[in-house]
């Protein structure tokens, strides 16, 4: 299945700030919660972050000019709030963030029993995502949300080649971390 449904585009431009916000949240509200989860593990802080994302989105639609799709705008604003949150929290928690390259070299810590359990697998996926630097985190989240390379390039501002390289690494990391237990194999 895919989280991406309809993609409101320039047609949305011209609507009011409140309408744009409501349209975006109606379409991508679930994705917003998933993003907040990927940017903050603590439940209380995550609730604050989610509210911050909502407020940032609503405020941002005052300046929405329709030059990109509502979806692209939505993900750009949300991820920027997430990245800002990570950097703020980084000052309080002295845990170094890593890049995809470092994750590729990590030993596979998969426990077969854990791998069979869906909630543990999701928890492990979140732990993996939450260790990543903001840009790599953004790319992997976009990949998991089901975006294609062109959309990821548009949202992140990275070149298509760079996105392709990162996606290749993401697939490699996910395959290594989630390949045990049959159903956990990473589709290619």
């Amino acid at each position: 299945m895919s989280a991406i449904q309809s993609i409101p585009t320039v047609a949305a431009f011209g609507s009011g700030q409140d309408e744009l916000y409501q349209q975006a949240v109606q379409t991508y509200g679930a994705a917003l919660e998933r993003l907040a989860r990927a940017y903050e593990s603590d439940a209380d802080l995550r609730r604050d972050l989610l509210q911050e994302m909502h407020v940032a989105l609503w405020r941002s639609f005052r300046g929405f000019d329709g030059r990109c799709s509502l979806r692209t705008w939505f993900y750009r604003v949300s991820h920027n709030v997430g990245a800002s949150h990570v950097l703020r929290q980084r000052r309080l928690r002295d845990q170094a963030l890593v890049g995809l390259e470092e994750l590729e070299n990590l030993p596979d810590s998969t426990n077969a029993l854990e791998a069979a359990d869906r909630s543990h697998r999701l928890e492990r996926l979140l732990n993996l995502i939450q260790r990543l630097k903001p840009m790599d985190r953004h790319v992997i989240l976009s990949y998991l949300e089901g975006f294609d390379a062109a959309s990821i390039a548009e949202i992140t501002g990275l070149s298509a080649g760079n996105v392709a390289t990162k996606i290749h690494r993401i697939k490699s990391v996910l395959a290594r971390q989630f390949q045990q237990g049959g159903s956990g194999s990473c589709g290619k």
């Binding site: 509210q51 920027n80 950097l87 089901g146 990473c186 589709g187």
Partner: protein, 190 residues
């Protein structure tokens, strides 16, 4: 879009969500609260500066000793200089809405580099401006009361101030190292 059925994508997309929503009224209230917080923070900073300058201005106006008056004048000038620098260097900029992640991360990196510069140059814009006033005040008091006990007290006061300066400098260096690590993490984002 990637092919449907990727198990890890499914795992991610099928996770339960609470369906949290916020009404437009609530958003307006929160946005207004945020703006009021910023406004009152600025007011507090300026009032705090005035509170620091106020007593110095009083001493400047009422003292009859020339060197003391010069030292208080220098302290007032230093305080005003620090407030201006704090406002100029310390004010954070706002990321424009809807920019792509790369632009956003470059913006944050530039902000961190600016903050790093503020921390590493704390000697030049925060501590050094206070030194002339301190020197003149010390000389003035030493001339005014030329007794060994008074000089010892002045020496002790200067030692305490020097220790406070070193403490402030070390705290800023520690914060700067943290910022430097964050900047290094943001490097290579593209």
């Amino acid at each position: 879009m990637w092919e449907v059925g990727n198990p890890v994508q499914e795992l991610w997309q099928d996770q339960p969500v609470e369906g949290i929503q916020m009404s437009v009224e609530e958003l307006r209230r929160r946005a207004g609260k945020f703006e009021r917080t910023i406004y009152w923070r600025n007011v507090r900073e300026y009032v705090g500066s005035l509170l620091a300058v106020g007593p110095l201005t009083y001493f400047f106006a009422t003292t009859h000793d020339v060197l003391s008056r010069v030292s208080f004048g220098l302290f007032i000038a230093a305080m005003l200089w620090i407030v201006v620098q704090l406002h100029r260097k310390g004010s954070s900029k706002k990321l424009p809405s809807g920019v792509d992640t790369l632009t956003g991360l470059r913006f944050y990196r530039a902000e961190l580099e600016r903050q790093l510069e503020v921390l590493t140059s704390v000697w030049s814009w925060y501590l050094a401006p206070l030194v002339p006033g301190l020197v003149v005040y010390t000389i003035g008091q030493a001339v005014k009361v030329p007794r060994l006990r008074s000089w010892a007290a002045l020496a002790l006061m200067n030692l305490v101030v020097a220790a406070a300066f070193v403490g402030i400098w070390k705290m800023n260096q520690k914060a700067a190292r943290c910022l430097q690590r964050m900047i290094e993490e943001l490097n290579g984002a593209d």
